[in-house]
Amino acid sequence: MASDDSILDVQRLKKSFGGLVAVRDFSFHLGKGEILGLMGPNGAGKTTVFNLISGVYKPDSGVIKYKGMNIVGLPPHKIRRLGIARTYQIPQPFPRLTVLQNVQIAAMYGGGFSKAESEKRAHEVLDFIGLSDKKDMPAGNLKLLDLKMLELARAIVSNPSVLLVDEVGAGLREAEIPHLVKILKTINEMGVSIMLIEHIPRLVVETVDRLIVMNAGEKIADGKPREVIRDARVIECYLGKEIVEE
């Protein structure tokens, strides 16, 4: 499946915690400029996949090729500096620093920009994401939606090639979703390949080019989002078998 124009190429990834196999022989690729969705029931191993790619965990076996280079075993900060940025499902701000400082630090360290250049970029990104009126607030005082936006701002400010977005929609109100879809699409149009973990069907179908569904650490479907969510195995893992048979 992997072709020359894939930016991330993951082969036979495996990770277990004690006796529990979280990710089992998981292979996929992320195309250049693609938005790839990753769905699956709780505990399917989606976040573990992100943690493996971003270097938080080291896989038991498998290869993660980024721009043709195997990045398995690199520490998180190096992977970020290579151009793979991520957000966390539960926002992880620097609570005592201001919103602007939060973003500026990511630009300085993650993007290698100078202090002045980082500040300029941070202002631009905050404008784009809609947080500029809160830029001097301590990040610890932000509400959930703003914290999620801050996660995104911090991720994209370093000009990454790949963006891993972990459930940015979870916990948000229905009305807030179009704004989010628009932002993700714009980031993608700027040339960032995006991988998205998401549960909200509307957000997934409207945003992604391709959808992978995981269950119990394995890939069970991979294809066009509207086809994948009708796949019998996908419905089965979400809703159970009997309903499918009816």
């Binding site: 520490p75 900060h77 966390y88 992880q92 701000p93 609570p95 620093l97 400082q101 630090i105 360290y109």
Partner: protein, 322 residues
């Protein structure tokens, strides 16, 4: 970096006043108290850099002070090294010691790191208690008796050294906190996981902070031992040094730039007042520390930053770095 703003003008004026005090013939006692203040200030600033900004609650700073002091004593005693070489060499020795120890120490986190560093003091005390490099006939040298430190400096020159080190520690803090390293350290202190995800090399940032703080703590120790003229293991590696740093930083306000300045002044005053009530002094200090931690964990500065008067005053200075 060094724009001439109100802050620096204030700092220069205060420094000039402090520098003129010995000339106008101020009493020895006051000069001694000021000397202690500047030494404590440098120690407190460096401990604040570690505990307040880098998340490294190091309880092993007395060990590094002692290593610096002993190196200084050795260089002066055995080699008659000139001070301008001996002092940097002593600080470098302490820093090298810290660099080697950072390999095992940085494998520990949080409380474990603190306990690990705390043990350094005791290990050093025991070792230097035993260590007698060369038996000198007729003079008790080394071991528990320690070494004399003969610098030939006048007390007033030593006062000026302390003044320079104390003021330099304030400028150094401003410089570090405004730098890329400072931003990285504050990010690590706030959220280690997010810091790594933002591209910050946690180990390297903490190591730099640890080494810078140790070098400067060693410098303050050198100034102190030049004044004391003598070093022996029980005093050098004593927990009371830790008390000074912890009290000054916590009473003044941890993770604030101004905190250690206010805290050091209070600790110096207490150290002069309390010996009169020797039997009660641990009680008084304990109660004071408990009150601060209970009612205003960010210290006196943290309490003052909530008041309008203080914030109005800050307007004339540049913003404090959180």
């Amino acid at each position: 970096m060094f724009r001439l703003n109100a802050e620096y003008i204030l700092l220069v004026i205060l420094t000039l006043i402090m520098a003129l005090l010995p000339v106008v013939g101020i009493g020895w006692y006051t000069l001694h108290v000021l000397f202690l203040f500047f030494v404590y200030l440098a120690l407190a600033n460096m401990w604040n850099l570690l505990a307040g900004y880098s998340g490294l609650v190091s309880l092993g700073q007395p060990a590094f002070m002692g290593i610096a002091g002993y190196t200084l004593a050795m260089l002066l005693w055995f080699f008659d090294t000139p001070l301008y070489i001996a002092i940097p060499a002593a600080c470098a020795a302490a820093t090298a010691f810290a660099a080697v120890l950072s390999i095992p120490l940085f494998r520990m986190r949080g409380f474990y790191f603190s306990i690990g560093t705390l043990l350094l003091n005791e290990i050093c005390r025991v070792w230097f208690n035993w260590w007698r490099p060369i038996p000198v006939p007729g003079a008790p040298v080394g071991g528990g008796a320690g070494f004399g430190i003969r610098s030939g400096l006048s007390p007033i020159s030593i006062y000026y050294l302390a003044l320079a080190v104390g003021i330099a520690s304030i400028i150094l803090m401003r410089f570090i906190l405004g730098s890329k390293l400072g931003a990285g350290l504050m990010a690590i202190r706030d959220n280690e996981r997010a810091a790594a995800t933002c591209g910050i090399d946690i180990f390297r940032c903490k190591l730099y902070s640890f080494l810078i703080a140790t070098f400067f703590t060693g410098l303050a120790a050198c100034v102190f031992y030049l004044f004391q003229g003598h070093i022996e293991p029980t005093g050098a590696f004593s927990i009371s040094w830790l008390n000074v740093m912890l009290m000054a930083v916590i009473i003044g306000g941890i993770s604030t730039e101004e905190g250690p300045i206010v805290g050091s002044a209070i600790v110096v005053l207490l150290s002069q007042l309390l010996p009169r009530y020797a039997e009660y002094s641990p009680l008084i200090l304990g109660v004071l520390l408990t009150l601060i931690i209970t009612f205003t964990p960010p210290g006196i500065i943290g309490m003052m930053r909530k008041t309008r008067l203080y914030n109005a005053m800050l307007k004339y200075l540049s913003k404090p770095i959180t």
